[in-house]
Amino acid sequence: MYTLENVTKTYRQKERTIHALKDVSLTIPTGQLVAIQGPTGGGKSTLLQMLGALDRPTSGRISLGEADLSGMPDAKLGRIRATEIGFVFQGFNLIPTLTAQENVETALEPLGVPAEERRRRATEALVSVGLGDRAHHVPSELSGGQQQRVAIARALVKEPDVLLADEPTGNLDEQTRDEIMALLEGLHRDRGLTLVIVTHDSAVARRAERRLHLKHGTVTERA
């Protein structure tokens, strides 16, 4: 469960101060599927960074379960990311020189999983996203949808509590978009993951339990 209390995030750019998040307070219960919508520059990615322990808020408090993400040193935040949070990015963010299998294994590297077990779990994760036969291909040999499946396998191989996806279908065609969304929704349903998806797709958003709208750094709930 996430708890955010008066979270603000400001970026300094030369003379200008950008208020990416303004006084955001909300809770996200464990296992909820939340869709975040809003215009570009509204602060969606910034909010996802706070949830994902990638950065600390400028002020306010944010906690994931017992862990206070706003008051933790970098190394501890890294630990939280390694164990509890899975990320899926708009641009897939696979390591271009590594095979699908190896890309999935990178998520287990910081956990110190022995090589044998790492290989087995990565293979299982790839099979679960329907890519068992593409394990030894590098990203450039895979389609966009397949690459995003590898990224999803990488996010869930560590069996996280939370899955955060920033416009995961933004780079995909309509057909593939639905496949990826179906996959993510299935994972949420089957594994009880807390799933936060930033999306421009209203059809996707409508299927979510909860919809948040972010504009000028301010969150509003949508029915």
Binding site: S45, L54, R79, R81, T97, L98
Partner: protein, 496 residues
């Protein structure tokens, strides 16, 4: 994972790997070659010095300038004084032959008692005196003298005085056939074996000089000279008008250099025949320990205000000729060139590594976002750079070996003119050439040919590998530091 990722990166980004490795390889090969050649030049210098001063000589005492303390006046050049018995007059002119043993031009002699002073100095473990001489033989036929004197008898019977070589005034004797041969002769203490010129030679035939030879007319010849002259052990040769028995021949211990002198005779005999009683030209000094050398030098200089005291280092500076040029070329140009190329290679490695990290901003951000620590990522970048450096190092090592092998295959030979007190200065030859108008002449060259041999030492290999590691780690440290500064949020940066 570390090695898989490393391997995939290097294989997947071949161009970057190749550029960094090639830069490192060229630089390392150059450093190896320069290092090896300069070691070769140093060896050659040492060989030349050794042949002149002997093994184990730490210091030498000589008197390069200033008036000699006694004996014959040290006027320039050699004077031939032909007595009646030397000439034989025919219809065409006069045939003359004369052999004189004199102190080298440009060499000053000093009293032998200096040796006692040297031996009394603290820290001197051994000292031995030598007298450097030149035996000049004049063989020739004088044409009708270009004077008004009509009587051929007069020219033959009277004391004709030839202009000394180097005086440059002898323009008048066109058409005669002269042969001037000069042979370097060193008077050595026959009892001294451990130090002095004969300590750097190897017996080729017969025996060396020993304490029993004092006062004897015996000579040890440089083997090469003996071959040229066609003399062997048991034969006799003429030096300064006296018959000497050849008791042995010697070769230089350093394969590439000739011995310092053509002939070695007992010191007292040398002094007697050159009229230099009680005079010496050089003292070879051995210090009790290498660390004492500066102190011994200072003490010697204080005790001997009139003489020059030189260490091996001072002497190395006196080795001139193409060997000297090679040495200064290597130490100046070679050093700077290799430093510059090495710096360029390091810079290329660093810049390309930084560029690589910048290009992979999103990649490293993503790895941080999924929990990789800064240390782990820095290590990955450093590992990549180190391996790139090592690939360059291996290629450089191979390239360096090839370069050194090529140099050794060509084995350039370097001429060296030792302008030290023992060998005649370069002026000696120049002066001779100027003097005579017509006749063919042969003057002994004071130059030594040394074949340059570039050695491949373990040190050179270690240097190459060390540089590869240093270059790789330097680029890796800087690149890794840049990577560790990246924020994990970079992973979310939009693709466009």
């Amino acid at each position: 994972m570390f090695f898989t990722y490393l391997r995939r990166e290097l294989a997947g980004r071949r161009r970057q790997t190749a550029i960094i490795a090639v830069g490192m390889a060229l630089a390392i090969a150059l450093v190896m070659i320069v290092n090896s050649v300069s070691a070769g030049v140093r060896d050659a210098q040492a060989a030349v010095l050794e042949s002149v001063y002997g093994v184990g000589t730490d210091l030498t005492v000589s008197q390069a300038s200033g008036p000699p303390e006694g004996g014959e006046e040290g006027g320039p050049g050699v004077r031939f004084e032909f007595g009646t018995e030397d000439g034989e007059t025919t219809d065409d002119g006069t045939t003359l032959s004369n052999s004189r043993l004199t102190v080298d031009r440009g060499t000053s002699t000093f009293d032998a008692s200096v040796l006692d002073t040297v031996e009394a100095v603290d820290g001197v473990s051994a000292a031995s005196a030598t007298l450097s001489l030149t035996n000049v033989t004049f063989d020739g036929e004088l044409p009708e003298p270009p004077t008004d004197q009509s009587s051929g008898d007069q020219a033959a019977a009277g004391d004709g005085t030839m202009p000394a070589p180097g005086e440059g005034g002898g323009g008048g004797f066109g058409g005669g056939a002269f042969d001037v041969t000069s042979v370097t002769v060193t008077g050595v203490d026959p009892a001294a074996e451990a130090i002095g010129p004969l300590s750097a030679v190897e017996l080729a035939d017969g025996r060396g000089l020993d304490s029993g030879d004092t006062g004897e007319y015996v000579v040890v010849l440089d083997a090469e000279y003996a071959t040229t002259e066609g003399v062997a052990v048991g034969d006799t040769i003429d030096l300064g008008g006296t018959e000497f028995e050849v008791v042995g021949t010697v070769t230089s211990t350093s394969a590439d250099a000739a011995t310092a002198s053509n002939a070695y005779i007992p010191l007292d005999v040398a002094q007697e025949l050159s009229g230099m009683d009680g005079q010496i030209s050089d003292i070879s000094v051995q210090a009790a320990s290498a660390s004492d050398i500066p102190a011994v030098k200072a003490d010697l200089e204080e005790a001997l205000p009139d003489q020059t005291v030189s260490t091996q280092e001072d002497l190395a500076a006196s080795v001139s000729g193409s060997l000297g040029s090679a040495s200064s070329l290597i130490s100046s140009l070679g050093l700077w060139l290799s430093v510059a190329v090495l710096a360029a290679a390091f810079l290329i490695a660093i810049l390309f590594t930084i560029q690589g990290v910048t290009r992979r901003t999103r990649e490293f951000g993503t790895l941080k976002a999924i929990g990789w620590s800064n240390r782990r990522i820095t290590g990955q970048v450093a590992g990549e750079s180190l391996v790139q450096g090592l690939i360059g190092g291996a290629a450089g090592l191979a390239l360096g070996f090839i370069g050194i092998a090529v140099i050794n295959a060509i084995s350039p030979s370097l001429a060296t003119t030792s302008s030290s007190a023992m060998a005649a200065g370069p002026g000696g030859e120049g002066g001779m050439a100027g003097g005579f108008g017509g006749g063919p002449m042969a003057a002994a060259q004071e130059t030594t040919e040394v074949v340059l041999n570039a050695p491949v030492t373990l040190g050179v290999v270690a240097l190459a590998v060390g540089l590869a590691v240093v270059g790789g780690l330097l680029a890796g440290a800087i690149g890794g530091w840049r990577a560790s500064k990246l924020r994990p949020a970079e992973a979310l940066r939009s693709v466009a």
